[in-house]
């Protein structure tokens, strides 16, 4: 994940929609990967790679994807310009083709009553604990579109999308946060651990990740547990950390039910956030309504609201009034969502 986002929700979020990517988005998505300059580290910077990603999405929407590859790409679109300015990817089950590795941060207590010594050591265990979980990754908003609530919109859209296809998603959903970097963009954790096992620099490792070879790299990582206390202080302090650029994102995700459960990334030791999929805010607290057209009252509640199934999924933030079992949205919003009066919409009230 790489984007600064301090604005939970502002009226300006209404300038965006989030929709499912289609095959003809390949060029726009490729442009986004190039613009991200490495921040979308799971994606190779080639048009073919972007096309392949969208083909996977297509197969998934058509119900033709294998369990291992099933996943979706949601795009953030600027309604005014029609440009794609951000994205988030959803994977239904990770680690079913290549193993998914991360570190579990555990504890070992060494104590001696005779020496009156008591020491609690933190230890990193390489594990595949998160195999089979669903994952949100590649959450990204273009630099020139930041600070407008786009990231919040994308995370809520992902939850509403999951709510509509809950059977496809695992009981647990995770999201890896970028770890702490030095000003020169190197990770102290990588320097202290990974580098010794690969003899390649972090950029080199990231290129391999983009080529889908993360599991190969993981196989070179230390299989034995690593005592944190034996690592340099600079590396120890970054374990379970978050890149300052996305510090604002963590509270946002925590409000929606994500929390740290002692798993960290094997490369930069960044925090992995986990949630029970069914209790995610956008899953547990969203409701289905029939849409109605009208002008919501002044001061009407704002909603995260999604319409459409599968490839027709579209989502935005807008004011809406409840009338009986209908959610009254402005005709403009309805058309933006591609929904008509009487259509079913899924909505989550903003706090």
């Amino acid at each position: 994940m790489s984007l600064p986002e301090q604005v939970p929700l502002s009226a300006s979020a209404g300038r965006f929609i989030v929709r499912v990517a289609r095959a003809d988005d390949a060029a726009a998505f490729h442009a986004l990967v190039i613009e991200a300059d490495g921040a979308l580290e799971r994606h190779a910077e080639s048009p073919e790679a972007s096309r392949a990603t969208l083909e996977r999405v297509e197969r998934s929407l058509a119900g033709k994807a294998s369990d291992a590859e099933r996943g979706y790409l949601l795009l953030l679109e600027d309604c005014a310009s029609g440009e794609v300015v951000g994205c988030v990817q959803l994977v239904c089950s990770i680690g079913l083709d290549q193993p998914f590795y991360d570190y579990r941060l555990g504890k070992i207590v060494h104590s001696s009553s005779r020496l009156k010594s008591y020491r609690c050591h933190e230890v990193l265990y390489l594990c595949n604990d998160l195999t089979g979980c669903s994952e949100l990754h590649s959450l990204y908003v273009r630099r020139d579109a930041r600070g407008l609530g786009g990231a919040a919109l994308l995370t809520k859209a992902a939850q509403l999308f999951i709510a509509g296809r809950l059977a496809e998603f695992a009981p647990r959903t995770i999201i890896e946060m970028h770890g702490v970097r030095d000003p020169d963009d190197t990770s102290p954790f990588w320097e202290a651990v990974g580098r010794h096992f690969f003899k390649v620099d972090q950029r080199g490792a990231e290129r391999l990740v983009a080529q889908g070879r993360k599991a190969f790299i993981a196989e070179l990582m230390p299989k034995h547990p690593v005592y944190l206390s034996l690592l340099p202080e600079s590396a120890q302090s970054t374990v379970g950390g978050i890149h300052p650029d996305i510090a604002g994102l963590a509270p946002l995700l925590e409000q929606d039910g994500f929390h740290f459960e002692n798993h960290v990334d094997i490369f930069d030791a960044g925090m992995v956030l986990e949630a029970h999929t069914r209790t995610l805010n956008g899953v547990a607290n969203s409701r289905e309504f029939l849409a109605g057209a009208g002008e919501p009252a002044d001061g009407a509640q704002r909603w995260w609201v999604a319409a459409g199934e599968g490839e027709g999924f579209c989502m935005t933030a807008a004011p809406g009034s409840l009338a009986a079992d209908r959610l009254i949205l402005s005709p403009d919003i309805l058309s933006r969502l591609g929904a008509s009066t009487g259509a079913s919409v899924r909505a989550l009230g903003t706090a």
Binding site: L115, F197, I217
Partner: protein, 337 residues
Amino acid sequence: MLTIRPAQHSDLDALAETAARAGAPDVSLPNDPRLLGRLIAQSEDAFAADIDFPGEEQYLLVATDDGALVGAMLVVAAAGYPGADYSFRNETIIHASPELGVNHRMYALTLSHDLSGFTLLRPPLVAGDGRRVRVERALVQAALAFIATQPARFAEDLIAPLPGMVDDDGESPFWSAVGSRFFGVSYREAERLALGKDRSFMAELMPHHPIYVPLLPVGAQNVLGQTRAGYMPTYGLLIDEGFEAERYVDVFDGGPTFCVKRGLARSIRVAQKLPLAVDGSIGRSEPECLLANGEASRFRAVLAPALRRPDGRLATTADAASRLELIDDDEVCCVPA
């Protein structure tokens, strides 16, 4: 004539003085007259006892020249007995990925009991530097001759740890990087405790999982398996004897622990048991050999001119024979130079 024999109580003052002059660390002998006195008593008991298999015995040999004590060496029959001996085993792990074209060797230190029960040779302690190598070599050879002639008392494997490197302040970089993270005590205190009987704290406090060497600070990696400059002669001596130091290091300071199969130690391999012949013609022109009698409590060894005669007897001087408490035709153990 350099003579080696079991330590006795009357050696206490001279031993204490030698240990004090050597100062820290207590790797050869405890620098504490009370502990030394106890050690001499234990050693006297060990030499005197009938032993069928190695146990808690500690054998303290002293070297004298013209009646003056010039060195000492401690042999522990079974390391760690009755508990376990702790060391780090330096293991090799290949990290390879044919897909990525990567193949390299990683090293990891694993806490091990492998050396438990092995016979442990402490580095010889020599008074003064003048003839240090000569005295050290004689002590090591005498200890090995004793082991060769009293095999039931010792294990099939021999180990010899040498102290690890310390910096100018006497701090061990290896201890700072590893041990200090696991113990709440200083290096000196840990060493003192480690020499004691109850080492259960080692199991309680030391890391159970392997430690990847490349993850340690460079300063700690650099001293791994290295001994202090002052012990380089001993290092060379052990290499000459066929000991190897690739596999095990000390858990506290990362110093090397030398290992050899008993039968492959040079002095044991080349030792010959021959009938003795006192021969007035033997003099300084003959090469010096280490000669030992096959006794236990009356163990004696000397560094004396000797010659294997065509009749298969070992000719040496009357002085050497008398120091060995042997007469003509008695069996003598000879370690050729």
